[in-house]
Symmetry: C2
Subunit: 393 residues, 2 copies
C-alpha cells in the first residue's frame, strides 16, 4: 500500500500487562485535514473529551492510541493523563498541542499507568520511520481475534491516491455515532467541508449500521486524516472525483464495519438485516436494530433455529409502524412468512438450511411504506458469555 | 387459601406435545369486576386482540389459558381459533361470549391445534369443581422451572377477603405495560374505577419494573378479577380499606414479578437496580433499565466481576441526564465509585464478595436531581443461550 506522507509505529508500553505492543502512533508529515465522530454516550472517556477539543481546528497531524486501558471514569486525574500524553507527543514531534488526537480502549475506571506511557512515548516517536499501518491495527486490538484493515486506490485529476483504514471492535458495539475505534487515512487532497460531509455519510451506513451487543462504549471514535501528499488537484463537492472518493471511502468503512461484526465477541454468524416497506428510513433502521439487538433472535441464529416469530416480535416492539397483515420475512431467498403468517412447512426445512450458513440475510417487509435500511449483526453465543463474564481476569 | 366464589381446573390438551396439563380455567361463580393490561407490542397475538375487546365491559367471569402455543402471527385463522375457544367456553358455562378472557403462551407462528382444544374444553369445564389455583399456575408454565403464586388476606368493614395471583415468565421478559402472563383474583368487592387505578399503579412498580432479556412478548397479559363474594362493603378510593387493599395488591404483584426474574431463563443472580439522583422518575427508570438490559453488565454479574465501569457506560447511553463528576455506585453497602471515579482498591475486593451472593443491590446516583426508580433483573448466562438456542426442539 502506497500512502504518501504517513508514518506509523507501535511499541510495548505494558499498559495493562507486558507482552504485546499496545501503544501506537499515526503521523502525517504535514498537517492533515481531519474530522471525527465520537461516542454519544454522555459518560465520555478523558481522551474523547480532549480529542473533541483538538479536532475543532479541522486539522490534525498525529494520533496516539493505546489499548488495555480506556481512561474512562477516571475523573480529573484521567484528564491530566490525556493532556500530558498529548503534550509529550506534541513536544517530541515539535507540533502544537492541538495537532494531537488521543484515543484509548480497554478497561474502564482504572487510572492510566502514566509512568509507563511517559517512558514509551520516545520509543514510539523513534519507531515512526520503520512501522506500518498493520502494526497499528494490531496494537489497538483488545478482544479482537484479527486486525481489521481495508484500503482502496483512486485517481483524481490523473493523480493516484489511497484511502486506508483500520478498526477495532469486538465488544461494546452499538455505535450511535461512531464505532469503537477506527482511523482512516488518505493522501488525497480533499476540500475540508466535503471531507466532513462524505465522512459522516459513510459512517452512517457503516459503523452506525452495526451492532454486536447493543452496548455503546465511552470511547467510540472514528477519525479521518487526509494530508494531500498525493498531490492531486483538491477534490471538492459535486465533481466526478468527489463521487469516486466518496464511493471508495464508503467501501473502506463498510468493509471495516463488517469486519468488526464478523469478529464480534463469540460470533459464529454474520447476519445482514434488511428492512423494507417502512414508513420512513428512520423507522426501517429502528426495526432493523430491534431485530439485530434482540437476545432471543440472536440466540436463535446461534441455534440455527428458523424461529421467525421472534423476529416479528422484535419488529413489533421496535416502535416502527407495522402492518401485521402484510408483514413478510425471508432468510436469503426463502420466504418464511407472508402476509403476517407462516409460509408453510417446506419453508421451515429450507429456512433452517439457510441458517446453517456462516452468513445470511434476513429480509423483513413491514408492509407500510417505502422506507428501507440495512444493518449488520452477529449471533449471541456461549463464547460471548464466557468472554464477558471473564474479561478482566 | 380461602378465596370465595372462584373455581379452577387444568387438563391435558397436548397443545404442543402430550405429557402435561396445558389448558386451564379460572372461573368466577358470579361476574367479576375486571381489568387488564396487555402487551404494547404492535404485533399482538390473536387471544390478546380478542381479550382486549372482551375486557371493555369492565367485567369478566372466566379465563381460559393454554401454554405451548402463543397463537401469535397466525393471521385470520388464529383469530377464528381464539373466537371459537371463547365461544366453546361461554357455551359450556352458559355465559355471554364476552364474559370470557383467552390467553395463550408458547411458540409463535404455529396455528392452534383446534381439534385437541375443542376436545379438551368439556373436561376442563367438568374439572372446575375439583381443581386448585396451583393447578393453573403449573399449567401455564413454559420454560419456567417453578410455578409462581402469591396471596395476601385483608379485612374491609370487618369482613375478610383474599388477593391471590399466579404468573409465568422466564423468557421474552421486558414488559412495557404488562408481563408475560399474570392472573390476579380477589373475592373482595371493589369499586371498578378504583380497582383499575390501583391495578395500574401496582403493575407499574412490579411487572413494568422487571427485565430478563429486554424482549417484549406478543402475548403479555396481566388480568385482575374481583368478584365481591367475600361480602365486604364495597372498597372505594380514599378509604382506609382502599389503602390496605392497594398495599396487599402491590405486595402480591411485586412478589410475582420478582419470582419471574428469579426464574429468568438461565438466571443465577437476582439483582435489584436502584437509581437515584435523576432529573425525573422517568429518567431514573430509563437509566435503571439500560443497566438491567446491558448484555455486558449482565455477563459481568454472571462472572461475579465487580466491573462497575460497564454500569457507568450503560447509564451514559441510557438517555438520562448524568453529572459525570458526581456519579456514584454501590454494590449493596460497598461504595465502588464516588464522584465519577473508582473508590479505591479495597472496594474491588469487597465488591467482588457482594457479587458472589445470589442476590444483591446495585445503587447508582446520577448526581442530578431527585428522581428515583427501582427495577429488577437477572444475569446473562450460558444457560440462557442454551435454552434459547434450542427452545423449539
Amino acid at each position: 500500500m502506497d500512502i504518501k506522507g504517513f508514518q506509523f509505529s507501535a511499541v510495548e508500553a505494558a499498559v495493562k500487562k507486558p507482552g504485546r505492543k499496545d501503544l501506537a502512533l499515526i503521523f502525517s508529515e504535514v498537517p492533515a485535514n481531519a474530522c471525527a465522530v465520537f461516542t454519544t454516550n454522555t459518560v465520555k472517556a478523558a481522551p474523547v473529551l480532549l480529542s473533541m477539543e483538538h479536532i475543532k481546528s479541522g486539522s490534525t497531524q498525529v494520533l496516539i492510541v493505546n489499548s488495555g486501558n480506556a481512561n474512562a471514569c477516571t475523573g480529573d486525574q484521567g484528564m491530566i493523563a490525556a493532556h500530558e500524553t498529548s503534550r509529550l507527543v506534541a513536544e517530541g514531534l515539535g507540533l502544537a498541542d492541538d495537532a494531537v488526537q488521543v484515543s484509548s480502549t480497554g478497561v474502564i475506571g482504572v487510572q492510566m499507568p502514566m509512568d509507563r506511557i511517559r517512558a514509551a512515548i520516545p520509543a514510539a516517536i523513534d519507531g515512526l520511520a520503520s512501522g506500518t499501518l498493520d502494526d497499528v491495527a494490531s496494537a489497538i486490538m483488545t478482544t479482537d481475534t484479527f486486525p481489521k484493515m481495508e484500503a482502496r486506490s483512486g485517481v483524481a485529476g490523473g493523480t493516484n491516491y489511497t484511502v486506508a483504514g483500520i478498526a477495532k471492535g469486538a465488544g461494546m458495539i452499538m455505535p450511535n455515532m461512531a464505532t469503537m475505534l477506527s482511523f482512516i487515512i488518505s493522501d488525497a487532497a480533499i476540500e475540508p467541508a466535503f471531507l466532513q460531509q462524505a465522512f459522516r455519510r459513510a459512517v452512517d451506513t457503516s459503523f452506525n449500521a452495526i451492532t454486536v451487543d447493543g452496548d455503546m462504549s465511552t470511547n467510540d471514535t472514528c477519525l479521518i486524516m487526509a494530508n494531500g501528499m498525493a498531490g492531486n488537484p483538491v477534490i471538492s463537492a459535486g465533481s466526478p472525483a468527489a463521487a469516486n472518493f466518496e464511493q471508495l471511502l464508503g467501501e473502506v468503512l463498510l468493509s471495516l464495519a463488517k469486519q468488526i461484526v464478523k469478529d464480534g465477541e463469540g460470533a459464529t454468524k454474520f447476519v445482514e438485516i434488511r428492512v423494507t416497506g417502512a414508513a420512513s428510513g428512520v423507522e426501517a433502521k429502528q426495526a432493523a436494530m430491534a431485530i439485530a439487538n434482540s437476545s432471543l433472535v440472536k440466540t436463535a441464529f446461534f441455534g440455527q433455529d428458523a424461529n421467525w416469530g421472534r423476529i416479528f416480535a422484535a419488529v413489533g416492539y421496535s416502535g416502527a409502524t407495522v402492518n401485521q397483515a402484510r408483514l413478510s420475512l425471508s432468510f436469503d431467498n426463502v420466504v418464511m412468512a407472508r402476509n403476517g403468517i407462516f409460509a408453510g412447512d417446506n419453508a421451515e426445512a429450507r429456512g433452517t438450511e439457510i441458517l446453517k450458513q456462516k452468513e445470511f440475510t434476513v429480509s423483513v417487509d413491514l408492509g407500510v411504506g417505502n422506507g428501507a435500511a440495512t444493518v449488520y449483526t452477529s449471533d449471541l453465543t456461549h463464547e460471548y458469555v464466557s468472554i464477558n463474564a471473564d474479561y478482566r481476569s
